[in-house]
Symmetry: none
Subunit: 374 residues, 2 copies
């Protein structure tokens, strides 16, 4: 079996972040290690999985789901992941992934090298979500990608904010890419794959587990030069990601909040203990991670435009799909407004550049924020 | 004129924080310096004031207002003010006060040595005021005095919080103690004098000026081992007090808040630039300045238990559904482990309370963390 197939097979047989197997692959190569597992008389978990693995099924499923499989050395493979080979273990895990399935057309190495991880609690407050979204949108405006975990709360807010810009955003999953997780973020993850990438070291068909979330976090942290924690309980996945970022020598930033807010306890503690630098906005990030992105913000802030809309205007705007035209009647129906009022609103918001007239109706402008959010 | 009267006279003739006059007094003593001013042919501001001063009027007014006058060496004089003799100048001011008028029965040296300064904006938000008040009340509960400036906003909130406890609180004024300033805080200042102290280096009859506020701030900062800034604009009196605290080598703490709040900009910037330590509550203060230690959290923490598990232990744990029993054979199969090893692990993690034996096998304990999630 060649190195590429062996790495894919190891992704299938071995739980991610396994230190011993990662070390063995670094020393002997994936082909030798996987062949060893296949031959092994041991009843170990990995050996048994390797012996029953049908790689063709995995490859077919990847094809069906339009996944590419990247291994070290491939164009687009992020060199930064190599730092995991020497980083301290966190909770007995570590090591670079054997390979990565990726969905989307962006170049992972570029997006992550010019990226910042934004992580935080699923049980985020509206405050935390608005900060995450604003940060992501602001960073995207500077050509900086946002890497996160695709979860509810802070992750979703960060991806959504990033999607309002033209920068690719990257969601790192803890299970196979055939099924979006969490299911409620399916649309969001589809949009992430459309504009950036959804990636995982687990093959299609595998579901997330607690251990896989922890292993996944090391990828989020290692991919980018900096990780920002927005809101999180002390014993949280986000805190774990911060540990990984520190282990990899990455910059860690933390967003403060009201002292009474339980979800700001972790950022506050990290700042106080000098494990993270206080971050109040994009300028603080740029100051620390330097000129990752060189493009100045070149267009008016879409979010600001959205914020300026009235409830009815927002309803009209949100009636539009990410792509495709609607005629005014359909917009009125979807927005729940009378046609006359709808037409007036269509005119008004087309002036702000959010929508435009097409031959056959109306559509979002190419650069508009796609309406569906988190 | 004796040293005490000469110091009182200098308080009347010389603007507070005057570096040259302070240095002269340190070298020649107050009597000699004041005699020199009286004799001086110069038409300097200080000389003219000294030559027209009627100290008896000042003493009578102090008596009427029940003020004591303290000088260095007196019982109750705070030795900490001596640090101002060597501290760097701030805005060309500095030096210890020649003396202090005090109103109230508390002992200034004791209150300030066991005290913390709480400062901030007059234009504080409800958030800032509630934090200041809670902090002051919490510190008072630990017998720690709160020193502040008696102004509206953060100062008033801090004094009020302190008044809810039995600890004395100290208001440092920028004008004479015959008239409360600001007038709207008259009742508050009366209560402060009743339970603690209101103090000033300016004689009765003098009103506050901008320069006197700046000079006053050096006393607030120098009196206590620590200064907490709650909310303030960057160019603010509170920021000036922080500069004094740093110049005197005092601990500076700053309270974070929402990143969108303009009044939290200064605390955030101080924290980010490592000029202040982040402070979310009384514990943070005690850890830095107080003799009291904190007890470790005593309740069992499920997350900590999960963190302590090895990879195989976690695999066993995660084999369980949220509800329902499994027999050991099934657990072994799901976890990919041999039965013997699985049984050993089941025993081990049941001891930590994560799983328990049921009649027919094993199950998660009711309070165990459900496995999925990050």
């Amino acid at each position: 079996m060649d190195e590429r197939d062996a790495r894919m097979a190891l992704c299938c047989a071995v739980e991610p972040g396994n230190l011993a197997m990662t070390a063995a692959v670094a020393e002997h190569g994936a082909s030798a290690v996987f062949a060893g597992l296949r031959r092994s008389a041991s009843r170990s978990r990995w050996a048994r999985r390797a012996q029953t693995l049908d790689l063709t099924l995995v490859q077919r499923s990847a094809e069906r789901n339009r996944l590419r499989f990247l291994i070290p050395g491939d164009d687009g493979w992020p060199a930064a992941l190599g730092d995991l080979a020497t980083a301290d273990a966190v909770q007995e895990m570590g090591g670079p992934p054997f390979g990565l399935w990726v969905k989307g057309d962006a170049v992972l190495a570029e997006a992550s090298a010019r990226g910042v991880a934004i992580v935080g609690s699923r049980a985020a407050t509206p405050y935390g979500q608005s900060v995450a979204s604003d940060l992501a949108a602001g960073l995207g405006g500077h050509g900086i990608s946002v890497v996160s975990g695709g979860a509810y709360g802070i992750d979703a807010a960060a991806h959504s904010g990033a999607l309002a810009t033209e920068a690719p955003t990257v969601a790192v999953m803890a299970g196979g890419l055939d099924k979006p997780y969490p299911p409620g973020n399916a649309t969001l993850l589809q949009r992430v794959a459309g504009q950036g990438l959804v990636i995982s070291e687990l093959p299609p068909g595998e579901h997330p587990t607690r251990a896989r979330f922890l292993a996944r976090n090391r990828l989020i942290a290692a991919l980018c030069p900096a990780t920002i924690i927005v809101e999180a309980a002390w014993r949280s996945g986000a805190r774990n990601t911060v540990s990984w970022a520190s282990a990899c020598g990455r910059v860690v930033l933390a967003v403060p909040g009201p002292v009474h807010s339980a979800t700001s306890t972790t950022p506050h503690r990290l700042i106080r203990d000098a494990e993270a630098v206080l971050c109040t906005g994009v300028a603080d990030v740029l100051e620390l991670v330097g000129p990752l992105g060189r493009q100045p913000p070149s267009r008016p802030d879409q979010h600001r435009r959205l914020d300026a809309l009235s409830t009815d205007e927002l309803a009209v705007y949100e009636a539009f799909p990410a792509r495709g035209d609607l005629d005014a009647g359909e917009v009125a129906l979807r927005a729940g407004l009378g046609l006359g009022r709808c037409l007036a609103i269509l005119d008004r918001i087309s002036e702000s550049g959010l929508i435009e007239s097409s031959g056959s109706g109306w559509r979002l402008t190419p650069r508009a924020v796609t309406p569906a959010g988190d």
